[in-house]
Symmetry: C2
Subunit: 475 residues, 2 copies
């Protein structure tokens, strides 16, 4: 049916262009959106908080192209590969839009033989997923990634990634949150002791990954029905995945008769204990939950995995409750760079990705609810005139101000009315008006009006720049 | 041949993936590149200058998706349309990567019925052109656009666009430059009085556009040979297009017996005169050249057009001279928004686009030549230890610093050598080291080392944050 609909839509689109220029649909592509000035102001606020955190942790920044060779992305995303956008073959290389920033990062490391770097990268990624835009799920969306690559002592960089998530979510004041933590090695050990055959580890892991969206019963029936797992194995998994806690749970599992006999599980649990010790030193264990149901969808994780979830705030807003969810995730991927190296040389990596769209949705809704009027420009002064025929004088003055680094605007009219000029300041939040008039020109002064108080003072022209600087220094 | 080569390359790529994981080519797509930390530091410097200029002129900022419906781009770019990247038809809408930021801007205005806005937009655009990467010509590249949309009095916004180009190129200290200015109406009038048939205006305009790359003789033979223009008409064009100057040339052409009889040419010349009056008030006519050979390739311009060119610096650098060229361009496009409006309602627009890649090339080469060591992080302090077994103390201290907003790093080793820690500071330019040791812990102090002077002072732990702030406040 979807194919048929697509065909019909396409035919309709073609008809549209045949019928004439003005018949096409005026929209952005499905699952994408424009950011107008207001949305950009919110977006830049969020980015500022995130970037300043990444810089506080000493990260460098890199950028990579929006598309990669198709083969660079092949075999990295498991079941999600079908969501990759391909470019049309127009001759030359076969290309795909990036699906995340992690695979391009690994490609960058291998290509430049970099074995040691701490970097952030903020850019858009592309997934042909089913969009749910009111809940902040788009086909084009930003990821804010921070990764540490290099051979280091266990869990020190991993702990820093969690500290970063904690800092950013606290800083953005998004309400209460919890960071779930698990380890692929613990999951694999758990699958082994539950009797899952090796060959089914990844696919059963994908089923577990759905537990944050669907109830256990459904996941169980997918495991047994679609994936052919024995009911007994599924039930044993069912018991483990309801466990979550802190250091106590780690200790309990280290004593677990089955898990403690499994080599990888034991390694994972040992590292998890170390991680919690470091997180205790950072003072953030209060928001961390060791959760055996956390699996993460992507294939490339090899160790610690984590995901930050915003907790629903009851009755805080009167509107319908926001459907929140995962806002950050990440983990350790020690094998990915080696997949790009001719000799398979590995570069261990751990990183975190902040999913900013959901955060935008929340910040936008909050701003909507509040009375705060957000400014979309930083203009300090409007250059205005009180009488007609003063365009030249306005141009001369505004040019002086620009050259002195003052943020200034004027209306693009020959003879604007003073009222319209003052109104423009009210609407856009410009705090000052520099008014030129015949008398002021004769006297070598400019009348400076403070919009908020309607106070007016004459300022000597040569002192105007300094006066504007002083009066807007708190902005 | 190109097709055959593409086929062969494709077969080779397929063979590659069949032969095993490690056989693929490790590269970015043709005409694209990664930005490493150093390149990013340069890029962010350039962006900072550009954005602060746009904000100084009161612009808001918007963003649009990287792809648009294919039909949104159709019929906007004339001969260049073949360079558009299409996405593969994977079901659903037919999409193309944006070719510039102007058409998406016009689509945005029409879609949201905005008739009045001053905005900037900095983003990557995509052209399947022949890359010449050493000269800064890429298939994926940034454009920094500033546009003013709305019905205003003539040439006031147009003059501001030129002022902006002047400010940015001066601010970036790229050496001497000239901004060529012309008007599509003057060109059209000139074509008319030279005897070019109406139907050939756009294609002859495309030929004139090549004059900055190829000599007149070649352009003439294209006009006459390929495009079927009469030799007499071509020769008359040839006389006009060698003219360039300032107000005097405008006055001269206003007296030109043919041009002065042509309605559109007269309008264009009248506005050009007004523009020069405004530019005189801005004090920037010294860098402006009214140049009849400037045509601009894109179809959508309707009035003033302009292009900024860097002038070759003789013998300033000892290396081979940099091949410089156009670094900014723009003009008036009063019809574009109307093409997206069902009722054809027009929104007059004028704007400028800064082509940043060439500017990057120059800044990169200059930095290479200079001795300046560019820092790629902003880290203020490295948290180090003088003895073994102090990992926990380092973690505790760095966490305190992060929480206080200090930019701090530590080595991810349990027991790093002090020498290695100091060396890391030298390499990365970190100015301070906070050293914890047994004795310092007992005394409740931290040893603060100033890397540049090797001076060391004991600072009480509770004063450390303040001390670091003071000592790095000049950074």
């Amino acid at each position: 049916i979807a194919k048929e609909v697509a065909k019909l839509l396409e035919m309709k689109a073609q008809l549209g262009t045949d019928e004439g220029k003005h018949k096409f649909v005026l929209k952005t592509p499905k699952g994408t959106r424009d950011f107008g000035p207001k949305e950009m102001a919110i977006r830049e606020r969020a980015f500022k908080a995130i970037i300043s955190c990444f810089k506080r942790h000493g990260a460098e920044v890199i950028d990579t192209p929006v598309f990669e060779l198709k083969e660079t992305l092949t075999g990295k995303y498991g079941e999600d590969s079908k969501l990759i956008y391909d470019l049309k073959d127009q001759g030359g290389e076969l290309l795909s839009l990036r699906y995340d920033l992690t695979v391009p990062f690994a490609r960058y490391l291998a290509m430049n033989k970099i074995t040691n770097i701490k970097r952030y990268h903020i850019a858009k990624v592309y997934r042909r997923d089913n969009p749910a835009m009111t809940r902040g799920r788009y086909r084009e969306f930003y990821q804010c990634d921070f990764d540490i690559a290099g051979q280091f002592d266990p869990m020190i960089p991993d702990a820093e990634c969690l500290k970063i998530v904690h800092e950013i979510l606290s800083d953005l004041q998004l309400g209460d949150f919890v960071i779930k933590v698990n380890d692929r090695r613990i999951l694999d050990g758990m699958f082994a002791v539950c009797g899952v055959p090796d060959s089914k580890f990844r696919t059963i892991c994908s089923s577990v990954d759905k537990l944050d969206k669907v109830p256990w019963e459904e996941v169980r029936s997918e495991m047994v029905g679609e994936k052919g797992l024995s009911p007994e194995a599924a039930d044993r998994i069912g018991e483990y995945v309801q466990l979550h806690g802190g250091l106590d749970l780690i200790e309990q599992l280290l004593q677990d008769p089955q898990l403690s006999q499994n080599k990888v599980a034991k390694e994972g649990l040992g590292d998890m204990k170390l991680l919690f010790e470091y997180l205790t030193l950072f003072g953030i264990t209060g928001k961390i939950s060791f959760d055996l149901s956390l699996a993460r969808g992507l294939d490339y994780y090899t160790g610690v995995i984590f995901e930050a979830v915003l907790l629903q705030q009851d009755h805080e807003h009167l509107e319908e409750p926001l459907s929140v969810g995962s806002v950050a995730g990440g983990g350790r991927y020690d094998g990915l760079v080696g997949m790009f190296d001719a000799k398979g040389r590995k570069v261990p990596c751990v990183g975190v990705s902040i999913g900013i769209e959901r955060i935008f949705s929340i910040l936008e809704q909050r701003l909507e609810a509040s009375e705060e009027k957000i400014r979309t420009t930083e203009t300090q002064v409007l250059v205005a005139s009180a009488q007609k025929k003063l365009l030249e004088e306005r141009l001369r003055l505004i040019s002086e101000l620009w050259d002195a680094g003052i943020k200034a605007e004027m209306l693009y009219k020959k003879n604007p009315k003073l009222l319209n000029q003052l109104q423009y300041c009210e609407e856009t939040g410009i705090p000052l008006v520099a008014i030129v008039g015949e008398q002021e020109l004769k006297d070598g002064v400019v009348k400076l009006r403070i919009v908020a108080t309607r106070e007016e003072v004459n300022v000597r022209r040569e002192s105007l720049v300094e006066e504007i600087r002083i009066r807007t220094s708190q902005c």
